[in-house]
Structures are given as structure tokens and as C-alpha cells.
């Protein structure tokens, strides 16, 4: 809990606004302000809602519930809805205020209870606390004589007259006279009805807020509503019910929730949103019959139940396929979608255990996966490695002796850390051309890296094994020498990944984490890929200067002089680690954080939060992905997030169709421009660029330059058109 007054103010402001925007699954404060304004189109109702929010948040704080949830409005939004309902239903007075207070507290308690109940099933509680709370209030109010039913929401003109006099009434009449189709009117009113403001005016405000907040949510709201409307029309349901009660928004909220909030927006999630409309209609019709007995309105009960039902089912699938649940909620359909796209492209394979090439220097794949010679059937996911010269020959002299072969007796390394769980030694190297079918695998080592991840290295030289059974080996340790034992007509390393410790077990397809391949004099970089036959492979090896420059130790401060447009300032970034063990560079001045990861082979940024004009944002783009080993002229490419980097109309237009087609691209490329000494550099210059494209047209391009020296980052320059930012880091 923050202690100083300004932080206190921020906390309460955020808890109030959050309670409003949460109704639309958002944490957008602009949307919250618009919604808040819309709720005040009937001031009494608006005040009741606001009171309920404040009461419930203060109560939550008093009870000691999680401040993080209070701040985001999680405890407040159900109370808000209860407060609004009571404001609409009852006449204003001290009794109502008192009851709103009680209702607010009750809703918070219900929220906590239902939250823990639903969490066990990995589903959200949505507005169930609101339904329970409001039913309690409506049923009990009948016994409290002090509460009188209000007539608000019935005589719209009277209310408008009270609010804005004759001018507003005539404006509203003009609005009604606009040739807005019936469906559109109902849609807009239904939006308003979410906040119990059943009029065009607040409906339009909310529609505008929704559009500004998210193009995807807005289009889904229209889609969901239309589907519901058409379905009711088709089954000859009660269309006037849609028009004249607080029910139509169920279609809207369900479409947004399933189409874009809990699921990553995609054609399939849109289909699901459309499919949910008949379900909602069904729930409205059926449940309405039951609750009608006690004259209780349904409100958002159909929405809550349908969404919970759908999510429960989705949680119990065998495979996610193309309908993906949002894993890390960013409270914006666009952010969720773009983060999903970038995440899939960048980190899809990061869950693999990192295996490295088991040799020094350049080797050639003589047989890859599903090779023609021996990599077939259960053993198809294996690689054979040999050393070749420029002409592709694997041997010198006549190639009649094993010693004529370049790879014979070369060191074979551990591909990653693990325990030696099986080994075979003592089998003679074959004469060239001969094979030993009896001892198929020859001298072999099997290393266990983890459960179900084992690697096997075979055809090793007799008595060259340097490890014992049970030894723990580290990545890069020399295990043995390349030989020609077993079913091997000429010396080579056989490498395979398997799920158990047996020599010659069934292979599994498993990629190498990082490697470079050379064709002519050009290198290309691969991550989590499968080397193919004929490729010339090189293991990356981290270069001391690069490794130390990007070794950000928690607590470390990077101080710099910043020069931007002739203005000189100083700044600093601190390396901070959060509770989830995520490390970031944090700029206290701009309150910005750039999250990064360093796995020994690569430094890369994963996400950014904060001020996009800050130097840290440019550094986040410019050092987005840096290879810590040097390969001459090799380009390293990556994807940048679309959200944030693209701007303007094109981005807004893209949002509408993003679930179906993405035409905006952001790319990152880095390359070593100069290095003084390859193995022990004292000076490295890296050039990189971030490019935003629409189709093929470049819309934005930022060029970066990183200069490394004295075992650290020395200088960073970012250039975009007229903008030039230069950071000089201090030692």
C-alpha cells in the first residue's frame, strides 16, 4: 500500500476508473472516463454507481483484500453495477445511500467468494457477484418500506428536461428523428443499458469509448448484437424484449468476451462469438421463465453463464489448435492479439531444452532427418556429421585409412549439461568401407538432460571415452573422439535425441537451439531449427566483449549522457528483477521498463511498458536481439511488436481486420558492422534497424548504432528522420 499522498490519490483514482473500464474488460482510463460520463446521463443513477464503487473499494481496503485487485477495479465493477441498478430502481434518499453501502459490501464479499469458487475451475467470475447481489437487494427491498420505486428510465423526456432544459429535449428529438435504422437504435441503446442508461445519448458515448478503446471489441459488439438480433428474428423470438429491457447487451458482452478477451482474436474466435448468440437467446428465454417467477430481471446472467460454460469447455481440450486462450492478459484485444502474433514468431520454440552442436569448428551434415541411408523409420530423427574440405571431400590422401578422414579423432562435445546414463566402449574402429552390423551403434554415449530428453552420440573412437557412467557433464565438455565404430563405413558423429537411456532408442524430433550455417562466405543464423543435409554448421561461441556488455546484473545502474536535438541531459537505467523473476531495465525518470532475457547465446528484449518517447524505448528497439557471438556480416532478424511501433490511420484500420489478415509488419535486423579482433575484441560496432512496413511500403524506419568497448556498452545512437538520440554511457 502506497504511503505518500500522491501515490494514495493515484491508487484510489485507478481503483475507481478501473471499476468502470473492467465492465468492458479493459484497463483503459479514457474508456473509463467516457463510461463514467455516460453513466451520469442520469445523474442520480450515476451518483449511485459511483457511491457503490467507492464504498466497495474502501470496504475491500478495510477488509485487507489484495490491493492489486482493488487498484484494477476487480472488486469494484460488480458493486458498480449493483449501485447503478439500485439508482435506477429506487428513489434517492439517505435510505438508498445506506442500502447502497450495504449492497457494496455484500457484493465485495460475494466477489471474493465467487472468485475463489470459479478459480478452482479456471474460469472467471464475471458479473455473477452483481447478479447475486442485485437479486438480494431487489428481493429484500420489497420488505423495506423506506425504499420507493423510482420512475427514472421511464420518462426520458422529463429526465432530459431536468438535465439540460428544453434545448436538450429538442436535440434528443432531433436525434430520434435521424434516420437511424431500428437495429442500430437498439444496438446503441443496449450499449447504454449496460450502465442502465437506456438512451441513445449514453449509448453513443459508450460506443465512441469502445471504438476508441478497441476496434476489435467494437466490431465484435456489432457482430454479436447483429447475430443475436438475426437469430431472434429467425426463430421469431421477442424482438421488443431486445428493445425494451436490459437484455440486448448480453449478446454484445459475450461476443467481446469470447471473441477477443479470453481468446486471442482470430476467425475462429469470431465464429465462436457468432455461435454464442443463439446460446444467449436460449439462456434468456429459458432462465427468464424461471427468474420471472420471482420477478427478478436476468441482467447479465446469460452472458456470465455462456462465457463460463464456453471457457470451461475450452480449458478441457486435448490441444489448443487455432483457438488460443489468452495466456497473459493485457486488457486489450489488440494488445493480446499482436503480442500473440509476435510471441508465436519469436518465442514459440523457447520452451525447448537448449541443445548445442557437439563439436568445434565447421562440420557438414552428411545425413539429416529422414535420410536415405540409415535415418529411417524409428531412427529417422538423427543427424550424421562429418568434416569436409572446399571440394566436399571428407578425407585427404587416398581416403583408405580412418586417419585420412578429416573428422577422425576430433573431439566430440556434450551438447548440453546432463548425466551420462549409458555408454558403450571397446568396439574397434572399422576399416574404411566396412561396417559392423553386430554392434550397430559402435562406441556410444547417452546423456540424460531431463525427463524424456536424452541425447546419444555414436560411432566414437575406441577407448577415447573420457567420461564414466553417472558423470555429470557440462555443455561443451569433451566426451570422446570421433571414430568409426559400429555401422559406420567412414568416420562420422551420429547424433540423436531420444526419450530414454537405451542405446539406439527410438528417435524424437528435437531441434538444436542455435547454430550458424555457411554457404560460400555468407553465414545465416538459425534458432531452434533442424539442420538439413549438406549444410555447413558452426556452433556460436560467445565473444567476451559482447557477453560482458550485455551482462546486466540486477542492481546495476547504467548511467548515460543523453543528447537529443541539441539538448543534453543525463539519465540512468537500473536493472530490476520483479517477483516473477523477469529482469528489466527500468528508467525511474520516465517510469518505463524494458524486459529482457539473456540465455548466454543471445540477448533479447521481450516487452516494453511505459513512455514510448523515452531513450529506453529506442534502446529496447535498437538492441532488440543481439547475438553474443560474432559471425562476419551475418544478419540477425526478429519481429518487433506491431502494437506501439506502428502509428496512425493505417494502424487503426489494421486493428479492424487484424484477426483475419495482418498487413502491417515490424522487423528488426542487427548486424556486426565492425570488430577489431574476432576472438578477443576490444571494440565492436553493431548496426541495427527497426522497420515498420505496410505491405511492402516502408512507413517508419529507425536506424541504430551500438558501440561496445572497455568490456561494456559505450554508445547508443538512434536516428529517425530528423530525430537523433545519442547516449554516451559512463564507465
Amino acid at each position: 500500500m502506497p504511503s505518500n499522498p500522491s501515490a494514495q490519490f493515484k491508487f484510489w483514482k485507478s481503483s475507481i476508473l478501473g471499476s468502470y473500464s473492467q465492465v468492458f474488460f479493459s484497463d483503459n482510463s479514457q474508456l473509463a472516463v467516457l463510461v463514467l460520463l455516460a453513466s451520469f446521463s442520469d445523474p442520480v443513477t450515476g451518483v449511485c454507481g459511483l457511491m457503490a464503487v467507492v464504498f466497495s473499494n474502501v470496504f475491500s481496503k478495510f477488509m485487507g483484500f489484495n490491493p492489486a485487485f482493488i487498484r484494477t477495479g476487480t472488486y469494484g465493477y460488480n458493486a458498480l453495477l449493483v449501485g447503478l441498478t439500485m439508482g435506477v430502481f429506487f428513489k434517492f434518499g439517505w435510505a438508498l445511500v445506506a442500502l447502497i453501502f450495504v449492497a457494496g459490501c455484500l457484493t465485495v464479499l460475494l466477489t471474493v467468494w465467487l472468485a475463489s469458487l470459479t478459480a478452482a475451475y479456471r474460469v472467471p467470475f464475471l458479473s455473477l457477484p452483481f447478479i447475486a447481489g442485485v437479486w438480494m437487494m431487489l428481493l429484500s427491498a420489497r420488505s423495506f418500506g423506506v425504499l420507493q420505486l423510482s420512475e427514472r428510465g421511464i420518462y426520458t423526456f422529463n429526465e432530459l428536461w431536468n438535465m439540460g432544459g428544453p434545448g436538450l429535449v429538442s436535440f434528443y428529438q432531433q436525434m430520434n428523428a435521424w434516420a437511424i435504422p431500428f437495429v442500430a437504435t437498439v444496438y446503441i441503446k443496449s450499449l447504454g443499458a449496460i450502465f442502465f442508461q437506456y438512451n441513445l445519448f449514453s449509448g453513443l458515448l459508450i460506443a465512441a469509448g469502445l471504438l476508441a478503446f478497441s476496434r476489435i471489441a467494437f466490431s465484435l459488439s456489432v457482430l454479436g448484437f447483429l447475430s443475436g438480433y438475426l437469430f431472434c428474428y429467425f426463430v421469431q423470438g421477442n424482438l421488443s424484449e431486445l428493445d425494451y429491457s436490459y437484455i440486448g447487451f448480453n449478446y454484445i458482452l459475450t461476443a467481446i468476451a469470447l471473441g477477443s478477451f479470453f481468446l486471442v482474436p482470430s476467425p475462429r474466435s469470431y465464429a465462436l462469438a457468432i455461435l454464442s448468440a443463439p446460446l444467449i437467446a436460449l439462456f434468456i428465454a429459458a432462465l427468464g421463465k424461471i427468474t420471472g417467477t420471482w420477478q427478478l430481471p436476468l441482467y447479465s446472467l446469460p452472458f456470465s453463464l455462456v462465457v463460463i460454460l464456453a471457457l470451461f469447455a475450452l480449458n478441457n481440450r486435448y490441444a489448443t489448435g487455432k483457438l488460443n486462450l489468452v495466456q497473459y492478459q493485457q486488457y486489450s484485444p489488440e494488445k493480446n492479439l499482436y503480442a500473440f502474433i509476435t510471441g508465436r514468431e519469436r518465442f514459440n520454440k523457447d520452451t525447448y531444452f537448449h541443445l548445442h552442436l557437439p563439436f568445434y569448428g565447421e562440420w557438414n551434415v552428411s545425413q539429416g532427418h529422414e535420410g536415405k541411408i540409415t535415418h529411417r523409420e524409428d531412427w529417422k530423427y538423427a543427424w550424421d556429421f562429418v568434416v569436409v574440405d572446399d571440394t566436399g571431400k571428407t578425407f585427404k590422401l587416398l581416403g583408405k585409412e580412418v586417419t585420412d578422414f578429416f573428422c577422425y579423432n576430433l573431439p566430440v562435445l556434450a551438447p548440453a549439461a546432463g548425466y551420462v546414463v549409458n555408454l558403450v566402449d571397446g568396439i574397434d574402429d572399422n576399416a574404411i568401407g566396412d561396417v559392423n552390423l553386430g554392434d550397430n551403434w559402435g562406441n556410444s554415449i547417452v546423456i540424460k538432460h531431463g525427463d524424456y530428453v536424452f541425447t546419444q552420440l555414436s560411432h566414437l573412437k575406441k577407448e577415447s571415452l573420457k567420461v564414466k557412467l553417472g558423470d555429470y557433464v557440462c555443455k561443451g565438455d569433451v566426451l570422446a573422439a570421433c571414430g568409426n565404430s559400429g555401422r559406420s563405413p567412414e568416420p562420422h558423429i551420429h547424433f540423436q535425441v531420444q526419450a530414454n537411456a537405451l542405446v539406439g532408442a527410438k528417435t524424437i524430433a528435437y531441434p538444436f537451439a542455435y547454430y550458424a550455417d555457411r554457404s560460400a562466405d555468407a553465414y545465416s543464423f538459425h534458432s531452434f531449427a533442424y539442420p538439413t543435409e549438406g549444410q555447413h554448421l558452426l556452433p556460436p561461441r560467445s565473444t567476451p566483449l559482447l557477453a560482458s556488455a550485455f551482462h546486466f546484473i540486477p542492481g546495476m545502474k547504467l548511467m548515460f549522457d543523453e543528447e537529443r536535438g541539441g539538448k543534453k541531459t543525463t539519465g540512468s537505467w537500473e536493472v530490476v528483477v520483479d517477483a516473477l523473476n523477469q529482469a528489466c531495465l527500468y528508467c525511474h525518470q520516465t517510469e518505463s521498463a524494458a524486459y529482457f532475457s539473456n540465455n548466454g547465446s543471445l540477448h533479447y528484449f521481450t516487452s516494453f511498458a511505459g513512455n514510448k518517447q523515452s531513450a529506453l524505448y529506442y534502446f529496447y528497439l535498437g538492441a532488440h536481439k543481439i547475438l553474443l557471438s560474432y559471425f562476419q556480416d551475418m544478419e540477425l532478424t526478429d519481429h518487433l511488436p506491431i502494437e506501439g511501433f506502428h502509428r496512425g490511420i493505417a494502424k487503426l484500420a489494421q486493428d479492424f481486420i487484424a484477426p483475419f489478415y495482418v498487413y502491417l509488419h515490424s522487423e528488426y535486423v542487427s548486424r556486426f558492422a565492425s570488430i577489431d579482433t574476432i576472438q578477443t575484441p576490444a571494440h565492436v560496432r553493431i548496426e541495427s534497424a527497426a522497420v515498420a512496413r505496410a505491405g511492402k511500403a516502408v512507413r517508419r524506419r529507425i536506424d541504430f548504432e551500438l558501440i561496445l568497448g572497455e568490456n561494456r556498452l559505450m554508445k547508443f545512437i538512434a536516428k529517425e528522420k530528423d530525430l537523433c538520440i545519442a547516449l554516451n554511457f559512463m564507465g
Binding site: 585427404k396 573431439p411 577489431d676
Partner: protein, 452 residues
């Protein structure tokens, strides 16, 4: 029909000696072309004698060496030994392949700089570095390999004077089990001189000790000696790590790898006797990998191999001046190239091939150079087909040292031609003229005129 070539008759004594597995050695397989370029054409255009260098062979040999080391050890760097062959064209082929420069004098240092080698990639070896040389090298941040204490003290003085911190290494000599032990260069490992020098550098803040260097001999036929040397240098490096918490950046194993030439007195031919790069790489890298370095602290391995990288790429083309019989009846052939331009004939029995075809008859002969000096013997005994005046021969494996140790004694030095990757010849050094020798001579005025 082409007229058959006349060959003078040969009388050969029938030898019934002990059989050996190599049979009678003959070298009459003619070499008419080098990398596709005709020997006759080259001599016709550039005169005789003529040095020819094959760029293809240089690059191929370099790649072999590079592969042998880089597939055995993760951090390898070659430095081209200028003294072995400092023709700019040759040096630059090596620099294009990624080699640094290794020099042993101010003159070579200047040459490397002029060729465009960055100062920080020049290794400055040798016992004779003048103060001027050292100042230049320190300014260029070159790697100074200290040979003796006087040099160490001088560098210290210069560093303080210039307010710079030179990067230095010490040359270490040691017993590797081979004779002769090159203990005249650097500091001895066994008697503690090396540690003395290391302590003097480490306890002094004005130099940075970045490497350890050894160069155990020349034309080494035992790879195991390099294994011993690498183990001893690694031991020093680990000792420094332990004592001073400092990682030595590199271990420089120097050069001395044997080429495919045949040493005088060797029973086996060089091709069979000399170890290949794989054997040297095996010995060195195994020793360092087994020494106990942490995987990510393995030092850079620098190699200054000269001879083994260039010897086979060099040819000397020559022409027969005359034939004669010696008093003992042996045939003697006088060539137009002598020991003044083929210094290595003191060490090796160079392989010499005729450049035109002959019948199968051969004759033992002595090959003499053209100099008016008794020592001018190219081969004391060689079996060749009967050569006539104006016939051409090709001498093999002359790429190392000849083009740096030659002299214009009695006759001028010939031109050098480099045959590029596309089999195009380029003159990389012109045939000397009177002007090249007299250009720097100064004749006092009073000696200009005389009457005889």
C-alpha cells in the same frame, strides 16, 4: 609427323645393391605446367630463372591448417610470419584468409603496417626491437613479445614515458625433449626465469600481460614436442590465473611445423616423414583442452606457422647452361640458378623435375649453380633424365625463406610471378636491374674518373 627428339646416349652401370622398399628413385616425371600455366611460356615471358608462387596452393594449404585447428579447438588465430616470405602479394593472400601479421624487425613491422594490417593485429617478436620500433609499436597497440629482461625494462621505461599501457607477452623457452633446445630466445620455463619475468610484469602496472609465447624449434618432426610446450604454457597461464586472478588472453605456439621438403640426410622423403597439420593440431589442442581451463576461459590459440603454409606453393624455374663430366666420371649439370637465390639448398634435397618430356633413361648427376664459387651446389646427387643446354627444370617447395634470404651475389635476383585462382600469372616482383643495385650507391666525385 613430329620429328623425334634427340637424346644423347647414356651408359649406366648396373647396380646390384640391397633392395629397398622404395625402389630406385627417379624424378623424371616432367612438370610442364604449374596451375595450368606453361613453364616454357613463363620463362619465355619473364626470363630464367623465375620464382613462381601458386595462390591456389597457398589458400588450399591455409584452409587445411585452419580446419585442422578449428575443428579441434574453439578459438584459433593464425599470424603470418613475415620473415618466411614477405612479398606483399603473398602476405596479403594470408591477410585475406584472416591471418594477422607476425614480424621480427622494424623493417618487417613497417611492411605489415603498409600492407594495411591494423597495429593491434601485429605481433612483434624477436630479440632486436629498437627504441624507435617499440615506440611505434606501442603507439599502434601492437602485441610485444618480450625476449629478454633488457627489453622488458626498456618497454617499462617507454610505457611510463609515453603514458600508455602496452600489451605484452613473454617468450618462453623450455625443454620439450627435442634437440637442440632453443634456449637463446625468451625466458626459461624450467629454471624459473619465466616466472621471474611474469612477476616483474604483473607487479608493475605499466604493462598488460596478455599472452604467452613459445617457439620451440624449426622444421619440427615431432608433434609431441608441441604437446609438451602447450602443456607447459598452459601451466604458466593457469598459474597466473591462480596467483594474480588474471586470465591470459592467448597462448602463441609460434611456428616451426615441418613442410614437405626432404631434409638432407633424411632416410624418408619429406612427404612421408613430415607430420601433417592434423597431427600438430591434435597435440597442441589436446594439451590445452586437458590443462584444466574453464570452458569459457580457454585462451585464444595463436599460430605463427610460416614454412608449412608457403613452402609447397613456391617453385623455381630454371634453365640448363651446360653439361660436363667431372674427373670421377660423374655427370655435372650447370643450372642458371644458384645458392644465392636458393638458400634452402643448404638444408634440403629439393625435388627437381624436368619441364619437358624425356624417355625413361636416367642418369645420376650433380647439379651446380652458375656462381663462380665452389659452394654453389644445388643437389649433390640427383637422378634425372639427360638434360641439354636450354632445357628447363622446376624446383619444388621453395616458397619459404628463399624470397627473403636471397641475394644478388654475382648475379641479380629474378622476377617472381604469382598465379592467381583463375590461373592468371601476375608479376609480383620485377627482375632486378643494375639500377636496383646501384640506386643507393654513392660514388665520391674524385673516384669518378680514371685512366687505365
Amino acid at each position: 609427323m613430329k620429328k623425334l627428339q634427340y637424346e644423347r646416349p647414356v651408359i649406366q652401370r648396373l647396380n646390384v645393391g640391397v633392395m629397398n622398399k622404395f625402389g630406385t628413385k627417379t624424378e623424371y616425371a616432367p612438370v610442364t605446367h604449374i596451375d595450368g600455366v606453361s613453364v616454357k611460356g613463363l620463362i619465355g615471358k619473364h626470363g630464367s630463372p623465375l620464382f613462381v608462387i601458386s595462390e591456389k596452393t597457398i589458400r588450399q594449404t591455409f584452409k587445411d591448417a585452419n580446419r585442422a585447428f578449428k575443428t579441434r579447438y574453439p578459438k584459433v588465430q593464425f599470424a603470418w610470419s613475415y620473415k618466411t616470405n614477405y612479398m606483399n602479394a603473398v602476405c596479403n593472400v594470408f591477410h585475406q584468409e584472416g591471418s594477422w601479421g607476425e614480424v621480427v624487425s622494424g623493417f618487417e613491422y613497417q611492411k605489415a603496417l603498409k600492407n594495411g594490417v591494423p597495429g593491434s593485429k601485429i605481433i612483434f617478436n624477436g630479440p632486436d626491437k629498437t627504441e624507435t620500433d617499440l615506440r611505434l609499436a606501442i603507439n599502434n597497440d601492437s602485441l610485444l613479445h618480450i625476449d629478454h629482461l633488457d627489453e622488458l625494462y626498456l618497454i617499462k621505461e617507454l610505457a611510463m614515458d609515453m603514458k600508455k599501457k602496452p600489451r605484452v607477452a613473454i617468450r618462453v623457452n623450455m625443454d620439450t625433449g627435442v634437440y637442440p633446445m632453443w634456449d637463446r630466445f625468451g625466458f626459461n620455463y624450467e629454471n624459473g626465469q619465466a616466472w621471474d619475468a611474469i612477476n616483474k610484469i604483473m607487479l608493475n602496472d605499466c604493462m598488460e600481460l596478455v599472452g604467452l609465447h613459445s617457439h620451440i624449434g624449426t622444421f619440427m618432426l615431432a608433434p609431441s614436442a608441441y604437446g609438451v610446450a602447450a602443456a607447459k604454457l598452459s601451466d604458466l597461464a593457469l598459474g597466473i590465473r591462480k596467483k594474480y586472478k588474471k586470465n591470459i588472453q592467448y597462448i602463441d605456439m609460434g611456428g616451426g611445423f615441418a613442410s614437405k621438403n626432404t631434409l638432407k640426410g633424411s632416410y624418408l622423403q619429406g612427404v612421408d616423414a613430415s607430420p601433417n597439420f592434423d597431427q600438430f593440431a591434435e597435440a597442441i589442442s589436446t594439451a590445452i583442452l586437458n590443462a584444466g581451463f574453464l570452458e569459457n576461459e580457454l585462451p585464444l590459440l595463436i599460430l605463427e606457422t610460416g614454412r608449412a603454409l608457403i613452402d609447397e606453393a613456391g617453385y623455381l624455374l630454371g634453365t640448363v647452361i651446360s653439361n660436363k663430366r667431372l674427373s670421377d666420371g660423374r655427370r655435372a649439370t650447370i643450372m642458371d640458378f644458384g645458392v644465392n637465390i636458393m638458400f634452402t639448398s643448404f638444408w634440403y634435397d629439393h625435388k627437381i623435375s624436368p619441364a619437358q618430356s624425356f624417355s625413361q633413361y636416367t642418369e645420376d648427376a650433380v647439379l651446380y649453380g652458375p656462381l663462380c664459387m665452389n659452394i654453389d651446389v644445388i643437389r649433390e646427387n640427383v637422378t634425372l633424365p639427360p638434360l641439354k643446354r636450354d632445357d628447363h627444370v622446376v624446383v619444388h617447395c621453395v616458397g619459404a625463406y628463399n624470397m627473403t634470404q636471397w641475394m644478388q651475389f654475382i648475379s641479380l635476383r629474378p622476377a617472381i610471378v604469382l598465379i592467381d585462382m583463375n590461373e592468371e600469372p601476375h608479376v609480383i616482383r620485377k627482375r632486378e636491374t643494375l639500377g636496383s643495385i646501384e640506386g643507393d650507391e654513392v660514388l665520391p666525385n674524385y673516384l669518378k674518373d680514371f685512366k687505365i
